[in-house]
């Protein structure tokens, strides 16, 4: 009897999120990605606590230029004798912030465009999606380079430049989800209780589109981080002396033969971040897909 009751209780407690988590947990690679990404996130949030900016990141030490990793400098030092560990830790902040900002920007704009196009359909849909198609036709890196060249280098412009290239993806994903949901009976039922179109989109349709959007967020976040580094590497993103993985790589490239560690650590940071985000995204996609439900 009590066993039955507890079984019932257990069943009741299993909300949708809990079920997704159960499925996610079984995926070892995804859990690995989640752990790594959480670590990177924590390091970047608490960068100031972990490494002092003034003494470790800005302090130059010309007696100790391009030193190999040692106890004092676990990642070694760069061409001005600055601690690479400190610079990698602080560099994560800008990469992640710009990555996140660009995702938020494109999600907001692309998601809204896609939802409106999908929900209202017809001529408006055609107009919006053709404009989106034009954006899609331009390679994202070239687009970002053009925007940065036109607007000038600043953190905000960087977010904008990277974010714009994600807009088509979000618009398309959102539009297709909304079209699939637009004619469902529960949307009709919501109309029958007098809900406004905006209410229907926000409260009835949007929660149903979360799965593909969530996966896309992790994927494009990874791509955003990569793009920040790419732009910084070619000198259009964040310029030295501000530490950023891309510009660190860019200067380290010149000393590749003499001090390979200068390239190795920022490169590893980029690779790890993107790997963890991709693993996380893959895991989420599998966990959120109800067809794979056991």
């Amino acid at each position: 009897m009590s066993e039955q009751a507890s079984a019932l209780k257990k069943y009741k407690k299993r909300s949708q999120m809990a079920e997704v988590w159960l499925r996610f947990r079984k995926n070892k690679a995804a859990i690995f990605g989640l752990i790594i990404f959480t670590c990177i996130l924590l390091v970047s949030i608490f960068a100031d606590v972990l490494v002092d900016y003034e003494t470790k990141v800005k302090q130059q030490d010309f007696m100790n230029r391009m030193a190999s990793p040692s106890w004092e400098h676990p990642f070694g030092t760069d061409e001005f004798g600055r601690d690479i560990l400190g610079r990698v830790v602080h560099g994560s902040r800008l990469s992640l912030a710009v990555g996140l900002g660009s995702v938020a920007f494109s999600l907001l704009l692309g998601g809204t465009l896609g939802a409106v196009a999908g929900y209202y359909g017809g001529r408006l849909d055609n107009l919006i999606m053709r404009i989106v198609d034009i954006f899609m036709a331009i390679p994202s890196t070239i687009m970002a380079i053009t925007i940065m060249a036109a607007l000038g280098a600043s953190t905000f412009n960087l977010m904008l430049a990277i974010g714009i290239s994600f807009i088509p993806t979000y618009a398309r994903i959102m539009r297709s989800s909304v079209i699939g949901l637009r004619n469902t009976e529960f949307v009709e039922a919501a109309k029958a209780i007098g809900a406004k179109n905006s209410t229907i989109i926000l409260t009835e349709i949007l929660p149903n589109c979360m799965a593909p959007i969530l996966v896309q967020i992790t994927m494009s976040f990874a791509f955003g981080v990569l793009n920040v580094s790419t732009l910084s590497f070619i000198g259009l993103g964040i310029s030295p002396p501000t530490p950023e993985w891309g510009n660190m790589l860019s200067t380290a490239r010149e000393y590749l033969r003499d001090a390979p560690h200068m390239c190795f650590f920022p490169g590893m940071a980029i690779a790890l971040t993107i790997l963890s985000l991709n693993l996380l995204g893959d895991g989420l996609r599998d966990a959120l897909d109800p067809k794979l439900k056991q």
């Binding site: 949708q16 009976e185 919501a190 109309k191 029958a192 209780i193 149903n208």
Partner: protein
């Protein structure tokens, strides 16, 4: 329809409603001049085959017909003295769910899978009444209790409920704002028979409690007999026979209605073969001339294909649209057996 009796307390009056679905050159005549009126607290059944225009009639009351291609081309719908067809979209939004509610056919799909049932009931309350979120949620729990579900389950999702319970939730949403008119579009088709009885009983109980009028769309004559006061038989977008429950069930007149009854299995004469109505519903984009039922009618004469039948009143409450009941048409219906 011009009966003078019971003029009082008319909740809904539809006059000559015409609804077309118009796509590239093809016009589908879904509803061709439907008139009906409904008194407060009464239940009207709209009965007919698939495609007879029942749902279209009901949806046009709420103006929820998909446009394009659906267009209301004529007639008037009056509710409590308001001409609904002149209302703006915003005015309609304030009526939907508040004065007129709708129960959809399939409770599995008419609830949003990612919102809790409590949220979904609270939503309609928040849209129409100036209450805080907490109050709306409290009211939602009360509505759940009212339809016989433990209020503590308000935080659960639709997939945690059975079909019958989901339909109860849908009924709770429909009745949350105490509507004057409830439109039930085949509310029990998706449920199994034992649950059907429970749900129908519940609807009846709640309607009597709140004096709600109801339009019940169905093709199940058993449900009609159990729950309705008046019956309108629809065929090809017209009401071909209308009367009280007794008129239709005991004094069946229209050949189509007779055919509907003959299509039901009869428990008393089990050997008897079922007699389905021969043929199919006419293509609504290309309706037959004259009486639209004549190609399938056993008693059809030449005149049936040229002359449109008018409403013939057999009593104050009972009318039929068939040339056999009009004088000097030469059409007669000979009843073959009891």
């Amino acid at each position: 329809m011009e009966k003078q009796a019971s003029e009082k307390n008319i909740v809904l009056e539809i006059e000559d409603l015409v609804v077309n679905y118009e796509t590239d050159g093809v016009v589908v005549h879904a509803v061709n001049g439907v008139s009906l009126r409904l008194e407060k607290g009464k239940t009207l059944a709209l009965v007919g085959e698939t495609g007879a225009g029942k749902t279209t009639t009901a949806l046009s009351i709420l103006q929820l017909i998909q446009d394009p291609p659906g267009k209301i081309r004529g007639g008037s719908i009056t509710m409590d003295g308001d001409a609904l067809l002149t209302f703006s979209e915003r005015q309609m939004e304030s009526i939907r769910g508040d004065k007129v509610s709708m129960i959809f056919q399939d409770p599995m799909t008419s609830l949003n899978p990612v919102l809790t049932v409590g949220q979904q009931i609270a939503e309609v309350i928040q849209i129409h009444q100036k209450v805080s979120k907490a109050e709306a949620e409290q009211k939602a729990r009360e509505m759940l209790e009212l339809v016989g579900i433990d209020g503590g389950r308000a935080g659960e999702y639709p997939h945690q409920f059975s079909g019958g319970m989901k339909q109860r939730v849908v009924i709770a949403i429909a009745l949350a704002c105490n509507p004057t008119l409830l439109i039930a579009d085949e509310p029990t088709t998706a449920l199994d028979v034992t649950i059907q009885a429970q749900v129908l009983e519940l609807m009846k109980e709640l309607r009597e409690k709140y004096q709600t009028s109801m339009i019940m769309i169905t093709h199940d004559l058993g449900i009609v007999a159990e729950t309705c006061d008046e019956v309108s038989i629809m065929y090809a977008g017209r009401i071909v026979e209308h009367g009280t429950l007794r008129d239709i069930f005991k004094e069946t007149r229209h050949p189509y209605t007779v055919g509907l009854f003959n299509s039901l299995p009869n428990i008393k004469r089990r050997q008897e073969m079922l007699k389905p109505i021969k043929g199919l519903m006419p293509d609504p984009s290309n309706l037959p001339t004259g009486c639209s039922f004549h190609p399938r009618c056993d008693y059809a004469q030449a005149i049936c294909s040229t002359r449109k039948p008018a409403q013939t009143f057999l009593s104050d409450t009972h009318f039929v649209e068939c040339l056999a009941y009009e004088s000097n048409t030469g059409v007669t219906i000979t009843k073959k057996e009891g």
